[in-house]
Symmetry: C2
Subunit: 151 residues, 2 copies
């Protein structure tokens, strides 16, 4: 599949994270920055161990907790989402507003599209309520074929 030049969106994501952390007084350390960068560089769901391998290139090999802790932070801050069905991670397309991610996953090219649709959230919350549950959070992962791959 065609790859566009991601430099700009990577840069945007890093800058946004930096600013949000400054505003929240949380620490956007070099390690966390580097992990977020790797997530965006791949620009497809990336596993913790892929990140680990990339982080380790040209230096002493880092250990799994290093990666998982950085990911925990990035998820907590809302910069990264975990894709449960793939045991993988993707950059959040709207880090300014903390939210749970709802995703479309192309089974052909592996690309992931995040849906930031309030109406979908509303329907899901309503479904919880209709069944007597309070709502805390939700994951929605839809598998299908993206427009590109169908053409």
């Amino acid at each position: 599949m065609l790859k566009h030049n991601h430099d700009e969106c990577i840069e945007n994501a890093l800058t946004a994270a930096q600013e949000i952390c400054a505003a929240r007084d949380t620490r956007f350390t070099p390690l966390r920055r580097r992990v977020l960068e790797l997530v965006w560089v791949k620009h497809e769901p990336i596993t913790a161990y892929e990140i680990l391998d990339l982080l380790s290139e040209g230096q002493k090999r880092v250990a799994p907790p290093t990666v998982y802790r950085a990911l925990d932070f990035l998820i907590e801050e809302g910069f990264v989402h975990r894709i449960e069905s793939l045991n993988s991670f993707v950059g959040c397309s709207d880090p300014a507003h903390k939210h749970q991610g709802h995703f479309l996953i192309c089974t052909k090219c592996s690309n992931v599209t995040e849906m930031n649709e309030q109406s979908l959230h509303d329907v899901i919350k309503a479904a919880a309520k209709a069944n007597g549950y309070s709502y805390e959070n939700s994951i929605l992962e839809i598998a299908g074929i993206c427009e590109n791959c169908r053409n």
Copy 2:
């Protein structure tokens, strides 16, 4: 939390599975039956290794592939759903109609409620289409507190 007597629903699930397999000409072997029974006996999300431990009681320890293969079959037939966010498995409440499960998960008592609501499916399919994706399947897992636990 209050536990009702599950004997009846376990029996129902096993009978239904037996009949469906007969109709489809697939093999509901003793092992598969036993694994499905264990899933229903717990009646909360159960992990593969919990099943493994239960299966192994009072006999030679079984190996992981035994359990995973049985689960693969049961999922394929639609008798069991996998809860991605918990790496666990639950019995399907409507095995007669193959479908993807949409779940409410109580974060307090761990009980899971399966939603069999066509309208929810429709909304999810529409969301895929609206974003240019064909629809293959989806997982929806909502975390919250169930009615029982809130009282």
